[in-house]
């Protein structure tokens, strides 16, 4: 993501935006493999609280991360609109459980703002950039931090 910022500022990138509680996030659409409805996951023993378990994705075992729990946001009760965004990052495929997928945004790199460094909020580690879209602030999810830490904690 940081590398991307050094590219031509006029380059356009598409982002998939989704909602967790009241907050809006996006991920680079190139890392999104598919979006699917929520099915009950098989819980994993000794897993961190944000790992909801694993589901069967056409014969492969897909771990599901509850993004709200991962980001430290208040948990949203499972509703019908909960969806799993299957993302691939560094050859790792993971499902992100979010409340709803909202839109696809096309954003120029120049419009990505570096988030201010705020130590009190451990959540900002997961935000790599901020976007203003229609007066709303949308966070760009840092997949690297979101997933890497998972792995470390799990191991």
């Amino acid at each position: 993501m940081n590398d991307a910022l050094q590219d031509n500022p006029a380059d356009l990138t598409e982002y998939l935006s989704f909602r967790i509680g009241a907050q809006e996030y996006t991920v680079d659409i190139m890392s999104v493999r598919e979006i699917r409805g929520w099915t009950e996951a098989t819980p994993l023993p000794h897993a961190p609280s944000y790992v909801r378990g694993v589901i069967n994705l056409r014969g492969t075992v897909l771990p599901i991360i509850d993004l709200a729990a991962r980001l430290g946001l208040p948990p949203d009760t499972d509703n019908d609109r909960s969806v799993v965004i299957v993302v691939q990052h560094n050859s790792e495929t993971v499902g992100l459980l979010v409340d709803a997928v909202s839109d696809i945004l096309t954003i120029a790199r120049a419009d990505l703002q570096t988030p201010p460094d705020m130590a009190a909020d451990n959540q900002h580690r997961f935000v790599s950039a901020l976007i203003i879209e229609n007066e709303r602030m949308i966070r760009v999810l840092d997949l690297n931090n979101t997933l890497t830490t998972t792995e470390n904690q799990a191991a």
Partner: protein, 763 residues
């Protein structure tokens, strides 16, 4: 290098692996006293093929070494010298180096030149000993030089095929119209090592079909190979050659007659034409050659073979006049077909008749494709389970036709699965052969005389298992040589033969593969082990341990009995690593030892890593699978067999034993302990020989085959869970790692029975 070339090269290396395996195999049998000439021939052919292939790719180092090895084997083959025990070692070491050279050529690395030189020297020494060796001219010591020269010959030849080969052929052709349709004779490479005066010869009539050329073959190469086999006189017949204006470039007009004097058998000469047999007219007739000295005046022994280094045109006229005409040989085309047999080839008769034997029905398939097939079959198994379940849910399961069809489907699925798994299965032979090398190297490093005995090499195991077994086995074999066997003198003092034995065996046993590594050494010195363990704080002082418990201390991390770290073992990477890798393969390892009789490690492994028989159970509303081979029995808990141990722990009395009770839901963090275990169902599991526990579950659902889906890649290792699988309803179920559950048994149900503590400590 262009892609197709790289592909050919890759397949050459694949072939090399097979050939090396054959080579090792042959040498081993040979060493064991198998004096079947076919064995030596097999060895020779393997080396020869490697050399040939290597030459084609210009792998000089490999060719050079293979050549001298081949020469040595040829001496043996011709019966000139029967090797003694030390010579067998020399050959085995040479095959190791050949193996290294192949690997080095493949990976473009180097092999330490000292080792090669050492082996070359040993082989030369072997050759030097053979006083009556007809392969080597014994006239004067300088004649060993030509051997060195000719060693590089095949390489020079093949490397310069394009340039030298072309220049060689072209003058020939341009000369043709002038030299009227007459035969031309051309003295081939009168290689000093093969030219044996007075040896019988063959007359070969070779007439290529046009298809020989279109399939990319080249007579020149064949002629070259022939000239390496012995002294050749090659005559090209160009009488059919039409005037240049009528010449059809795609026709074949030329034919050759090659007179060869060699100690090689007809069989070997035929082998040269192996690839073109169907593409040419080939007649090989043996002939007695009356005048052995024909070439002597023209071919001084010291003259390096001119075949590749000089343009061939000049010698032709000369040969024509001096050799061809006075040559008293019978006419090349009407060679008498005397079925003469090379006297130095005791196996000749057998060879010629054994020709059409092997027609290997094997196909080389990329592993990726097989894996894809394995995956698909896995899906099929899941699908079949899903279908059965839907049939039951739809309420038509009782219909006879449906039930019969489903049964058949299930049977078929299983058959397919077994067959696919069998594709992945490979004999452990290659692995055992590698271990033979480890023994050789290890024993020479520590100066012990070791005999390595293997059995059950044909036992088939999943390829992945074989690959991942190599490291632990290497470690165990080294241990056996280094620690297991006593020093030669000590053995004598104990009245044992000074030669130690290390045995490696494989067998199938009740659906698993049993691999045993045993030595006839001193056995485990339990006093030392115990003291070491106490010293290192691995067990508390004054612990009372049984012999088998002491033996198992060897598997503790950081345990190494060698007083000092030797070059071989005791690098701090101990048996715990071995145990971990075996466990990771779903196997178990156990150890038995008897003082002065030896030590035996037994590894029991699953046949395949992809499918497992499991019992599907339910715990805290979660479906789990317990590997069937871990389950000993199921028990129903009653107030009679439950015994409270401490404030938070319980044991089950089972006949005369007490077994710790573990609540699986608690262990996996799914639920708190229940208030009463009365009337609960428990599984008695024993993943390893001396660890056992009764695991409380909610209910048993069914017993079935499950396809293993690794969690490692997608999530990472989870304590207590070995892998995952997909059940009939599409849900994922976790497969329990029983050993891990027992050893990590934590929290309130943890039992304080001493055996459990020990088990926990060991694992």
């Amino acid at each position: 290098m262009s892609d197709p070339m790289a592909e050919i090269k890759a397949s050459f290396f694949l072939e090399c692996e097979e050939l090396l395996e054959q080579l090792q195999d042959g040498l081993n049998r040979f060493e064991e006293g198998d004096d079947d000439p076919e064995t030596v021939n097999e060895v020779f052919r393997a080396v020869h093929s490697i050399k040939g292939g290597a030459g084609a790719f210009g792998l000089t180092a490999l060719v050079d070494f293979a050549h001298i090895f081949e020469t040595s084997m040829d001496v043996v083959r011709s019966g000139e010298k029967s090797p003694e025990a030390d010579d067998h070692k020399t050959f085995l070491v040479a095959s190791d180096i050949l193996c290294d050279l192949v690997a080095a050529s493949r990976d473009e690395t180097d092999v330490s030149p000292e080792r090669i030189e050492e082996s070359v020297a040993a082989l030369k020494a072997f050759l030097g000993e053979s006083g009556t060796d007809p392969e080597e001219d014994e006239v004067d010591p300088a004649d060993f030089q030509p051997m060195g020269v000719s060693m590089t010959l095949p390489d020079v030849g093949s490397a310069s095929t394009d340039s030298a080969g072309a220049t060689q052929i072209l003058p020939d052709l341009s000369a043709l119209p002038e030299t009227t349709p007459e035969s031309q004779e051309y003295p081939g490479n009168t290689s000093t090592q093969n030219a044996v005066p007075g040896t019988p010869g063959f007359s070969i009539h070779f007439r290529p079909d046009p298809s020989l050329f279109t399939s990319g073959n080249e007579p020149l190469h064949l002629l070259k190979i022939l000239s390496e086999l012995g002294e050749t006189t090659i005559t090209c017949h160009c009488d059919e050659l039409p005037p240049i204006e009528q010449l059809d470039g795609e026709e074949s007009y030329l034919s050759w007659t090659i007179d060869i004097r060699t100690t090689h058998s007809e069989q070997e000469i035929r082998e040269v034409f192996d690839f073109v047999e169907d593409l040419c007219e080939l007649r090989i007739e043996s002939q007695e050659i009356a005048t052995p000295d024909v070439f002597a005046p023209e071919e001084p022994a010291s003259q390096p073979p001119s075949f590749d280094t000089e343009p061939p045109t000049p010698p032709i006229p000369e040969v024509e006049t001096t050799v061809s005409k006075p040559d008293p040989q019978p006419s090349v085309t009407t060679a008498p077909s005397v079925p003469a047999v090379a006297p130095s080839q005791p196996s000749k008769g057998k060879e010629t008749t054994a020709k059409p034997a092997k027609t290997g029905g094997t196909v080389r398939v990329e592993l990726d494709r097989i894996d894809r097939l394995v995956n698909l079959v896995g899906e099929l198994v899941i699908n079949q389970a899903m279908l059965s379940q839907s049939v039951v849910e739809a309420g038509i399961g009782s219909d006879q036709n449906v039930a019969a069809g489903l049964d058949e489907f299930m049977q078929l699925t299983r058959d397919i699965q077994d067959s696919v798994m069998a594709i992945r299965a490979q004999p452990v032979k290659s692995l055992f052969q590698r271990m033979g090398r480890i023994v050789r190297e290890a024993s020479s490093a520590v100066g012990k005389d070791v005999r390595f005995v293997t059995s059950g090499e044909a036992t088939e195991v999943d390829k992945t298992v074989i690959e991942r077994l190599a490291d632990p086995l290497t470690h165990m074999i080294r241990n056996a040589v280094d620690h297991g066997l006593e020093k030669n003198e000590d053995r004598k003092n104990k009245g044992k033969s000074s030669q130690g034995t290390v045995k490696l065996s494989a067998s199938h046993k009740s659906g698993r593969v049993l691999i045993e590594v045993s030595d006839d050494g001193g056995g485990i010195n339990r006093q030392v082990v115990l003291r070491k363990a106490i010293e290192k704080g691995l067990i508390s002082e004054g612990s009372q341990l049984t012999d088998s418990e002491i033996d198992n201390l060897l598997f503790l991390p950081g345990f190494s009995t060698a007083a000092e770290i030797s070059n071989l073992s005791g690098r701090g990477v101990g048996m715990d690593v071995v145990r971990n890798s075996i466990t990771a393969l779903g196997g178990r390892i156990s150890i038995t030892s008897e003082t002065d009789k030896g030590t035996k490690f037994s590894i029991s492994l699953p046949l395949t890593l992809a499918v497992q028989d499991g019992m599907v159970i339910e715990v805290a509303h979660q479906t789990l699978v317990v590997p069937l081979n871990n389950i000993i029995e199921t028990i129903t808990l009653t107030a009679d067999n439950l015994r409270e141990m401490g404030p938070a722990t319980t044991v089950v009395q089972l006949r005369d034993d007490f077994v710790p009770l573990l609540d699986l839901a608690v262990e996996l963090g799914f639920a708190p302990p229940r208030s009463s275990y009365d009337d609960c169902v428990a599984l008695l599991i024993s993943p390893e020989e001396d660890s056992m526990a009764a695991v409380v579950i909610d209910k048993i659902i069914e017993q079935r085959q499950v396809v293993i889906k690794g969690l490692q890649d997608s999530y990472g290792a989870i304590s207590g869970i070995a892998a995952a699988t997909i059940l009939g309803d599409g849900q994922i179920a976790l497969i329990l790692d029983a050993g891990d559950v027992i050893s990590n048994a934590s929290g309130r149900t943890r039992n304080t029975v001493e055996t459990l503590q020990l088990t926990g400590a060991i694992a």
